[in-house]
Symmetry: D2
Subunit: 361 residues, 4 copies
Amino acid sequence: MNTFGHLFRVTTFGESHGPAIGCVIDGCPPGIAISAEEFAHDLDRRATGKTRHTSARREADEVEILSGVYEGVTTGTPIALLVRNTDQRSKDYSAIARQFRPGHADYAYWHKYGLRDPRGGGRSSARETTMRVAAAVIAKKWLAERHGVTVRGCMTHIGDVVPRGHDWSAVEDNPFFWPCAAQVPELESYMDALRKSGDSVGAKLVAVADGVPPGWGEPVYGKLDGELAAAMMSINAVKGVEIGDGFASVAQKGTQHRDVMTPGGFLSNHAGGVLGGISTGQQVVVSVAFKPTSSLRLAVEGVDVDGNVVDIVTTGRHDPCVGIRATPICEAMLALVLMDQALRHRAQCGDVGAVSPRIPG
Amino acid sequence: MNTFGHLFRVTTFGESHGPAIGCVIDGCPPGIAISAEEFAHDLDRRATGKTRHTSARREADEVEILSGVYEGVTTGTPIALLVRNTDQRSKDYSAIARQFRPGHADYAYWHKYGLRDPRGGGRSSARETTMRVAAAVIAKKWLAERHGVTVRGCMTHIGDVVPRGHDWSAVEDNPFFWPCAAQVPELESYMDALRKSGDSVGAKLVAVADGVPPGWGEPVYGKLDGELAAAMMSINAVKGVEIGDGFASVAQKGTQHRDVMTPGGFLSNHAGGVLGGISTGQQVVVSVAFKPTSSLRLAVEGVDVDGNVVDIVTTGRHDPCVGIRATPICEAMLALVLMDQALRHRAQCGDVGAVSPRIPG
Amino acid sequence: MNTFGHLFRVTTFGESHGPAIGCVIDGCPPGIAISAEEFAHDLDRRATGKTRHTSARREADEVEILSGVYEGVTTGTPIALLVRNTDQRSKDYSAIARQFRPGHADYAYWHKYGLRDPRGGGRSSARETTMRVAAAVIAKKWLAERHGVTVRGCMTHIGDVVPRGHDWSAVEDNPFFWPCAAQVPELESYMDALRKSGDSVGAKLVAVADGVPPGWGEPVYGKLDGELAAAMMSINAVKGVEIGDGFASVAQKGTQHRDVMTPGGFLSNHAGGVLGGISTGQQVVVSVAFKPTSSLRLAVEGVDVDGNVVDIVTTGRHDPCVGIRATPICEAMLALVLMDQALRHRAQCGDVGAVSPRIPG
Amino acid sequence: MNTFGHLFRVTTFGESHGPAIGCVIDGCPPGIAISAEEFAHDLDRRATGKTRHTSARREADEVEILSGVYEGVTTGTPIALLVRNTDQRSKDYSAIARQFRPGHADYAYWHKYGLRDPRGGGRSSARETTMRVAAAVIAKKWLAERHGVTVRGCMTHIGDVVPRGHDWSAVEDNPFFWPCAAQVPELESYMDALRKSGDSVGAKLVAVADGVPPGWGEPVYGKLDGELAAAMMSINAVKGVEIGDGFASVAQKGTQHRDVMTPGGFLSNHAGGVLGGISTGQQVVVSVAFKPTSSLRLAVEGVDVDGNVVDIVTTGRHDPCVGIRATPICEAMLALVLMDQALRHRAQCGDVGAVSPRIPG
């Protein structure tokens, strides 16, 4: 339930405003060089408070390696990573604890467990995704070193704004993971206006993996695309997942959609790098839809634990577009799925050399 | 890999043109009345050859119950179901066995396993979904009897055609699972023209569950929506999954999307019945995108196992729109997910009575 | 629950007197040559009715391969094996269905499931172990071909009779899997007298694997010895499991027990080939205790479903020593565990060449 | 691999001399009152250094609850427990890192992972069992409160010394978990002599559970006895496991072994409370054999990483009989298995009321 993956298994724990969050990575191959410092880059990309366009919480997010690493190298035993919650305040949650906020997990948790931890969303907070990003740092490293696989992502929609161009090199140079540098000032105005209005907006992003060899994926219930769908949908606020052309395939003809293979390479990639649930050697492409943040300072009618109507206003600062900082999270989930699939593939089929013919992606 | 579910576990086996297909259902509650005849209705809905609009294969699909049922009642031990492939022909597959068809799993299977079963697509054929539908017959029955949960589905796109109205009562009276009776003649012409052209088209459908109590779903890696995404994406030809408003959420504002709760009920269902990965008591709504069939009698360039260019023409009759008969399959996966979640929920939280307040869906 | 193994997964199904028993093997490496005939040898070794010393049931036990094998070679997809129960009689079970036999699973199944299948013990019959033996035929083949691992077993106690000598070559030449040929006539008299008396007796056997490389086993909850213990204890009538010296270790001194390593080899094998839950490269040795059969024609007091005292007499013929024909079953479980561990090991650690120094076993 | 249990899942992490050890408990029912202080009692029972008869390491073993508990009550989300290793010394391990100690996991770890953490045995140290004991504190509480199940254990052999009487009330009043108070002075002399000799000795203990209802256990590969065998065998130094009469069953007759049921109760418990892999309502009885400690200050020949012969002397203080302080560990594993089985049972079969007839244990 709180473990992701079958052979590269990541178990996360921790509540948003509890003492700490963390994870245990089990099944990691031995011999990967890793240090606590290497987690900083991706955690920082994910972190809130980076700019005025994401929420203000200052999380130090110092990763402590508790086990599984000896003399800077993974040993094959479980790797435990710990991040203390420095922002943990002794706030009074008694009021909020009795209210169910529309669009939040409050009511569902209440009915599931018969009680809930109201501190900052508790377990249902996106704070949990910190540990996915941390765990994926190790996965990314192994994938790159062992298989030459790289993973990256960028936004493709913020509300109804879409990129006018697509330049991967622009993505890391703006706070929106936006692939069109020229559009950034416009987006800043858009976000400022949105924040001022008190409202929020949805978003869409794409995550891609290059260098994935053909053959990864476990038919029929551990298919690469099936696992990706589960992985992405498990992220807070996600409402949709597409592989390759996704919903655009609905209106396509078969002659359009099928990707022609030639000895020189595939001529297109409508499939998004997956056929029959197995990678084809093409770029793996997954798109993800995020709903708009439900925590708004615009009041809304809700219900309390006694069944009474209450007026709910969410105080504190919240992202007006949660999808933005989800880019590193989606990359992380893509990496975790690929890592797990790689290990599962070699379990059954071994570290066999490439089968011929290998068609360029 | 070939097992679906955690506690209500369905393991399927069998190739399209092998001796038989079947499944083993493990973890089924004892005491459910079931007979071999009860599988016929849903298998028939899924079966090909029903009308001229789906492919011509005549599958008898007689289900034999091999175990787990005594005197017409499930005993709690594994239930094995078997369907012989009556359509199994001693055809010569030597030609096709050396070619990789664009848009098919051939090339990916070849690279995964180093060999492949070319008979009718082997394991990658949609024939496998027969057993999902069969297993779900038992799940549907338990869900209905024990929790009053019902599951149904209909098409919402065939290519670029969309329903002009939505009437659930029309769905079962036409070969397209189409919710608008008036449109059926038009669709028949559309499909006839498509078949004549030799091309195919994508599709989209929706599956819904009514009566799901709040509290089902296992955060954070066994969430109800995550499991649904995996379940749907594991079906042949699926390229996208949405929960509730799905990708439409991208352009929505937070004030639009969040579903207001009142003591008298939720005022909308943009969330599709899931918040924080847990059911809310509203209708569970999942939409699925299907790519157009890749098997076309229109020739396409491909590659063979020696790396040579070959011209590929798929003979035999194939569905020009595979999405259509996927309706019972998506219903089945929805039922299997809910059944599994119901058991997982009561494992951890027990068969507790409803917590207050319970808001109408 | 009815699946054994993590990566080489065997799911069995079927009741003793239902229509059929079978299994699905998932995760099997592709490329293993296998035919239906290859199952006959081990199934015959396990089969009842071979001699007058085991029960009289004549089971044909013809294995049908339903999937996962194409042109005589495993394809990597799930392998389903089916054995029809030819001995299935339309007997009247109404009397026995209302009684709980001492030493049997009747009462426990009744309380677990609220009902039970009384036909020949239903799911709790040792008939189920047929499919373990069948599945292990494939595992043994892969282990031998890929790693040079061989598995064998023999009896070490029948009641209080112990072998006077130990000669592996004698084991397959007598109906008792007994390693001392000279003792066989004596054992035959012993068993004849036992059968005549209507009573039964316990047994102990040892199963060993040669050629297991160092490094198999998954600490700390998937250790090789832990998995072996679970595997053996899951066999009907087993009451104890030992690795290496087992319970004899209790009275040993540390200086006695620890196996000295020299560059020329280990000087002893008290550990039974496992240290820290991982194979050492020595012979893997596991011993198993079987209780005496509980089905006796000597009457015993029991209870019926109404809570009344009843006199229970088991009719039909039953093994007076169930442990005897458990030899191939224990070998099978040993092979299944090793196969699974081999795949798990290479998932995490790869198909790495031998690390130095490698000490002879 | 490092996760125990299927529904009450305990993932442990940490090396003996790393920064910390800990665990994550996933699937714990909500609503169990628990505080950090409640772990102290059992951790203290397990702790080394309690008397001169166990090793001198002073571990503070303060448990910190990092997640999953809110206002003193479990919330249903993962519970992370952390224990810092206060005994962590910056010792020089370079010498020992190059030697393989006979009877230890060194050589096996080396071959499995290609490297190893030599600090105090690393992951293969019995230090890991601390977290099993901690996790079981929660399991024991739930079992007692919800089902009236209690768990306890005592020694039955220290080397060749056996109890002259059996008095449960004596067990907690001596450092040997010995059930015969009169024998304690004798045992102290025995242990003192043993320690002085530099040698060690094996041990055997029994763990029992009272109050287990009939019906727990998941045939055929998740049987109660199978899970117990795996659980016990996963403990460091264990070489054998018995259920009920265990190996004594070998020489028994069927008329002796089978436990007669009467409406007033079972007349014996040779089965140890398990039939067909399911609890019968009798006392669950499991016995465990421990090998003698391999770490001795008596020198032994061994091998180093270069394949040379080396003389190995283990310095530091070590338990001359590791089995003694395993009593709370075996109790813990028994409780963890029962907790998991209880949840698994109610998943499939629900919280059904007792089926009749219920025979006293």
